[in-house]
């Protein structure tokens, strides 16, 4: 008697496939061990109001990945980026991150999410044990809080606390010189706006103790009209205003404040002004707004930084953003770590990354470091200056002093109970 097989897949094959599938889900590193290319997953925001930042993150990553691949890849393995839209929603960011690892076979993650999404992706990295580099979240607690610490996650982003220390020190010096004692604040009403404003005023008052905040405004995120906020500030008659509004909200605010001639009545400190996304969009940019550097190709004033900004513009026909340089730096770190480890094993890369210093166009002294104790980026170019309405937009930037930043950051961590 001959046995005939029914068409289709056999029971044995089905069991084998199911077994392999289960293994690849439960232990993804087994299934991917033989892959020649290394897939790196990247959830980021490619739709919605801040899509421009997500797109600029993707562009910067691809700019650097192309260079790495042209030079032979990571330890001989070409990089294949798998970039997905999270729509800026934390739950979607977590779902996408998990899918990138479990279904798409990504071995590492570059997390291109804003703060809310980054914390969600961080938990995915904790759960799956996959190497993860956060590239956009500025929320200090992501790496400062020891409860968040995991050995396989790093943050390659400027930090809110660093900006506040430098901004507070810069603003205090101007306050003292010009006698600006009465301040108002106007920032978006969510975690980033509240935390950053609180930290800025903390250091402003530390460096200039006689400063008083006489008015606070908290417009909601993506509010279309700021008229009542502008007029409220005018009524309070402050001598200076601090704002961490950003993107389209900042440009709307400037346009609406402009027609009340607000910028002639007070000194304005807007930490997120000096980014090309805002600088190139505002048609009537007032002269003399004080801003932190986000990304401008003239700070740091090095040929490497200018060349990088020009290369990005040549390829994408627009200037990079603050998120761009951070994402580019993440790829530079990963590339250097793979060279040193001569491997793409996530654990080995993580061991090399901790404490690694690399040459970088965005470093204050030409280098940046992934600090070993809290896995966060330090040594990047940070400073404040005043804007002009045309290029170079911020002709002179007063660089922050990293020695002071480290001292005050340590104090801040202690006060928060992080150390």
């Amino acid at each position: 008697m001959t046995r005939t097989r029914t068409p289709g897949i056999s029971r044995r094959s089905t069991l084998a496939l199911m077994g392999a599938g289960a293994m690849s889900v439960a232990a993804p590193w087994v299934a991917r061990a033989q892959a020649k290319t290394i897939k790196i997953g990247m959830p980021t925001i490619l739709s919605g109001r801040v899509a421009q930042l997500g797109t600029s993150s993707r562009n910067a990553v691809m700019l650097e990945v192309d260079k790495v691949n042209a030079a032979g890849g990571l330890a001989g393995r070409p990089i294949e980026m798998v970039i997905r839209d999270s729509k800026g929603q934390p739950q979607e960011a977590a779902r996408v991150a998990r899918e990138l690892v479990n279904t798409d076979g990504c071995e590492w993650l570059i997390d291109g999410e804003a703060s809310s999404g980054s914390f969600a992706v961080h938990e995915v990295a904790r759960d799956l044990g996959v190497l993860c580099v956060h590239t956009c979240s500025e929320a200090s607690s992501l790496t400062a809080d020891p409860k968040q610490h995991i050995p396989n996650a790093f943050r390659c982003v400027r930090q809110g606390i660093h900006d506040s220390i430098v901004g507070g020190s810069y603003a205090a010096a101007i306050s003292k010189a010009k006698g600006l004692k009465k301040w108002a604040t106007c920032s978006p009403d969510y975690a980033y706006g509240r935390d950053t404003t609180g930290e800025f005023t903390l250091y402003l008052k530390r460096f200039a103790p006689d400063v008083e905040v006489i008015s606070e405004s908290w417009p909601k995120l993506f509010q279309p009209d700021y008229t009542e906020v502008v007029t409220k500030i005018l009524q309070a008659k402050p001598q200076a205003l601090y704002s961490c509004l950003w993107g389209g909200d900042l440009t709307s605010y400037i346009d609406q404040a402009n027609i009340y001639a607000m910028f002639g009545q007070m000194e304005v400190f807007a930490v997120n002004m000096a980014d090309y996304t805002a600088l190139t969009v505002v048609k009537n940019l007032p002269k003399g707004i004080h801003s932190g550097n986000r990304y401008i190709k003239t700070f740091p004033t090095t040929p490497e930084n200018a060349a990088w900004g020009n290369a990005y513009k040549a390829k994408y026909n627009e200037y990079p953003t603050n998120w761009s340089w951070q994402n580019a730096t993440a790829v530079m770190f990963l590339s250097e770590a793979a060279k040193k480890a001569n491997s793409t094993d996530g654990k080995k890369i993580a061991e090399v990354l901790a404490g690694l210093t690399i040459k970088c166009p965005f470093g204050a002294d030409g280098t940046v470091t992934m600090r070993a104790d809290d896995h966060t980026l330090v040594g990047y170019a940070i400073g404040w200056g005043t804007t002009i309405p045309q290029e170079p937009y911020v002709p002179e930037v007063k660089a922050g002093d990293w020695k002071t930043i480290f001292e005050l950051e340590a104090e801040w961590k202690k006060s928060k109970g992080y150390t």
Binding site: S47, G48, R49, A51, Q52, T55, E216, S217, W218, K220, F222, Q223, P224, D225, T227, E228, V229, V230, T231, K232, L234, Q235, G247, G248, D249, T251, S252, D255, Q256, N258, I259, Y260, A261, T277, V281, V282, K283, N284
Partner: protein, 300 residues
């Protein structure tokens, strides 16, 4: 809560002038969007959930026309006329097919077009935010009235919205076409039996509603950033206005919008952390005391 600041503002002529004009500006822009919404509901009995998209298109059309011509007047015309034509096409091709359908179906069609219109804007103008910039004629120092600050551009904005309100009010109550529109709202079957093309009336009303929202978008373009999806936040506030004023009432939309503008303006002084909440609280109070809204009519 900062009642001292509110009391101080109410007793100061400078603050009163500034905050009142600020309330009028917010209110009049809201009115232009809300009146289209209420007009379409009054005649077509459709809650046009995609109405915010016309505000968005009005702003983008105006910006594009301004970039090409440098003329502010042509920019306003492009914003209003462009969205009027878009409204007519949208009503004839899509909305007219769901008039007899379930409310849920109508909402789904509208919501689908909210997403489609946002993507169309993204495809044409890109995902990044844009700015039209203030025309040179209005880049002047603000006026100072009794110590209060009043930007000239906002005077124009209030004036244009007021003219629109008056023309609309008189047109609907006095003109023949206005009477036909009101008749179609009451009894479309009878109007049709009299040989009047109700489809044309419906299309015209939708175009007018879209045109008013587009005009609001065009007027807002010099002072607000333009992004795909910018119509949504305006739509929510416009719904609040129509609910407060009474669905279908033009006078209600005007009064509702002005009240909301003043609540936001003076609320930011006295209740800086509860300004949004004040609007909803006011809506709840109106609905509890008069469920049809301030000027809404009871169902027969």
């Amino acid at each position: 809560m900062d009642l001292d600041a509110l009391a101080g503002c109410l007793s100061s002529s400078a603050c009163l002038v500034t905050q009142t004009t600020s309330g009028l500006i917010i209110g009049m822009l809201l009115f232009l969007v809300a009146v289209g919404l209420t007009l379409i509901f009054g005649v077509l009995k459709i809650v046009n959930f995609s109405h915010g998209a016309f505000y968005m298109f009005g702003a983008y059309f105006a910006m594009t026309a301004y970039q090409f011509t440098g003329s502010f007047a042509l920019a306003m015309l492009a914003g209003a006329a462009g969205t009027g034509i878009l409204g007519l096409v949208f009503e004839r091709v899509f909305m007219s097919r769901v008039y007899g359908a379930d409310v849920l179906m109508q909402l789904l069609v509208c919501y689908a077009f909210v997403l489609i219109f946002d993507d169309v804007v993204r495809l044409i103008w890109g995902p990044e935010f844009k700015s039209m910039g203030m025309p040179a004629a209005f880049q002047v120092m603000p006026l100072f009235v009794a110590g209060g600050v009043v930007p000239p551009y906002y005077l124009l904005l209030i004036g244009v919205a007021l003219v629109a309100a008056i023309v609309l009010g008189i047109g609907l109550s006095r003109s023949r076409i206005g009477k036909v529109i009101r008749a179609a709202a009451h009894n479309p079957g009878m109007v049709s039996a009299l040989g009047i093309n109700t489809g044309l009336i419906y299309g015209g009303v939708f175009a007018l509603g879209g045109m008013l929202a587009g005009l609001a978008g065009a007027l807002a373009a010099p002072v607000r950033s333009l992004t795909p999806g910018m119509g949504f936040s305006v739509l929510i506030e416009s719904f609040i206005v129509t609910v407060i004023g009474g669905m279908g009432s033009i006078l209600g939309a005007l009064i509702g919008a002005l009240l909301l503008g003043l609540i936001r303006s003076f609320g930011s002084q006295g209740f800086p952390l509860f300004t949004e909440g004040l609007m909803y609280l006011f809506m709840v109070i109106v609905l509890v005391s008069k469920p049809t809204g301030l000027f809404g009519k009871e169902a027969a």
